[in-house]
Amino acid sequence: MGTTELLQFALAGLKNGSIYALVALGFTLVYAATGAINFAQGEFYMLGGMLSVWAYANLGLPLPLAGLVGVISTAIIGGVFELLAIRPRKDGDPLAIIIITVGGSMLLSSMARHQFGPTERSLPLFSGGGSINIFGAVLEVQTIWILGITGVAVVGLWYLYNRTGLGRAMRACAVDRDAARIVGIDTRKMVTVSFVLAATLGALAGMAVTPLTQTAFDVGPTVGIKGFAAAILGGLGNPIAAVVGGLVLGMLESMSIAFISSTYKDAIALIVLLGVLFVRPQGIMGRSKREKV
């Protein structure tokens, strides 16, 4: 295989990896706040794409505004879902939250089917179908948009986490929820915030990728599992690890297509998921910690 082809596969891996990174960040934020896995995370990705298409095609809004409407309305849905379906469960039992989000995932995708129909939908490319030539490999302009949106989202999240009071409160919750409550942090509010942020990040990914891949009511679970594999690969609960995990997973998938075959492309993420769970459950960037009774 020539260097140019390899570079082409690497660019594809970077693009998919940054999508996985956004979805993985959503998993990690909710995990940090609740100790549970949000199985509806993939549905936020689906809603981001579908609601943007709806705002563009049905409301006739210009593309940038339609994308904004798609992301903001998904963020609101994320918050409302938390308030209606997670918060009433007062004990915050992680197993109960996992099961609730499994039900929520089914409900959200079904509601999207009633609202937007069963067919695949698409958005136009954000700035035409141009591409740049990098050492012979083709980089589509839409891919630059995806990388840029991911970059801005990651920097924004970093700022929120490290430079604001809200971010400090969220980090405190991630370290020890009970201790955070004792020092006066409203931990329930942090759970709502984590769902709103997770929905925003998922929706950004779904919105940015729809012009390239199209979207439909049933794309959520597949992307959700890949994002989750990325979060586990990096180390659940750590935002930087989620980004690294996403990029590594995207590269692994791309290289498996380049060197093995594309038949089992979708299985790569799952094998990574099981492999990491069994061999190194704390992820590549996590520190091993022993559970005490």
Binding site: I99, I100, M106, L108, A267, L277, V293
Partner: protein
């Protein structure tokens, strides 16, 4: 602690329910009705396994459709392609699913928390890819058809009523054995760890061993259900064993409630009948059925959320409430 006293009214109720269930093929000869109700029995078997896992061991599997599928495909393959008898197909299904369950449970249950849910989710999706791609064994996306009926020796069970009795007889056997298990020493260990893992550990219960055993048992029950389904229906394809099916099985166990076998069995019957409501409500119009089928996912999703929020003990809690009130009224 000696044997718990058995309430005579419960025994009478069980005998009555069993009599009604077993009389169905005598009351109707409608093939569609019998087929739907047979399918309901298959789901009762899977959900019984899930009820042991969720309601007693406090774990959840999001990939039980994979074990269901492994059971169905392995039994169908050895019977159709290798010419083995059906009972050997069932044995193959049980061995493969129990072994698969063990391989999955050992590493993920060593860890505390909910790694099993994630591992089973990943496993279920891998198996879905395998069912589609390993077409020389599984027939690919088109599936396998012409799978022979269950048979014992030379005797083939080829009537709708016969298959109904076979499936429900097996379901009754699984329920009876599970009821026995939860009253036994290991059953008490299971209940203890559902109450408090630390407490159970302090009592000298090997948490991991108990959870692994329950998971292996629930995987094998799903495999058994698969081996019945493949031969009773005669056709299998990957869509029967998708993530959606795994989630519906969880919905049944959740609605059924914890520390109960009757609740989940009842929930399996109710939720399985939603898409086939016309089989039990003969007057139902075509358009009403279409509406029900259109919204069945919403019903499953809402059921899961509502039960977890407002009646975490599920149908089992309702049943326990009624029987307690009955006892007080005496």
């Amino acid at each position: 602690m000696g044997r718990t006293r058995i309430d005579m009214r419960v025994v009478v109720l069980l005998v009555l329910v069993a009599a009604v269930v077993f009389a169905v093929p005598l009351l109707t000869s409608d093939r569609y009705q019998l087929k739907v109700l047979t399918f309901v029995g298959v789901n009762v078997i899977i959900v019984t396994g899930m009820a042991l896992l969720f309601g007693y061991a406090g774990q959840v599997s999001l990939g039980h459709a994979a074990f269901y599928g492994i059971g169905a495909y392995s039994s169908a393959y050895v019977v159709t392609s290798l010419g083995w008898p059906w009972l050997a197909g069932v044995a193959t299904a049980l061995i493969l699913t129990a072994f698969g369950g063990l391989l999955l449970a050992l590493p993920s249950l060593r860890l505390r928390g909910h790694y099993l849910a994630m591992a089973t989710l990943g496993f279920g999706e891998i198996m879905r890819v395998v069912f589609v791609e390993a077409s020389s064994l599984t027939g690919g996306p088109d599936g396998l058809s012409g799978i022979p009926y269950p048979s014992f020796g030379g005797f083939e069970i080829d009537t709708a009523g016969g298959n109904y009795w076979l499936v429900w007889g097996t379901a009754a056997l699984c329920l009876a054995l599970s009821a026995n298990l939860v009253r036994s020493r290991s059953g008490r260990a299971m209940r203890a760890l559902h109450g408090s893992e630390s407490g159970a550990l302090a009592c000298g219960i090997d948490l991991t061993a108990v959870k692994v055993r329950v998971f292996v048992l629930s995987a094998a029950l799903a495999g058994l259900a698969g081996a019945l389904y493949a031969h009773v229906v005669g056709f299998i394809s990957p869509s029967t064993f998708s993530l959606h099916v795994s989630v519906v099985i969880v919905a049944m166990a959740v609605l059924g409630g914890t520390r109960s076998l009757a609740g989940p069995a009842l929930a399996a019957v109710l939720l399985s009948l939603i898409p086939f409501a016309d089989a039990v409500l003969p007057g139902l119009s075509r358009s009403a059925l279409d509406t029900i089928q259109e919204y069945q996912e919403d019903v499953y999703g809402l059921t899961i959320i509502a039960v977890m929020l407002f009646m975490p003990a599920g149908l089992a809690g309702v049943i326990r409430g009624i029987s307690k009130r009955g006892r007080r009224a005496e």
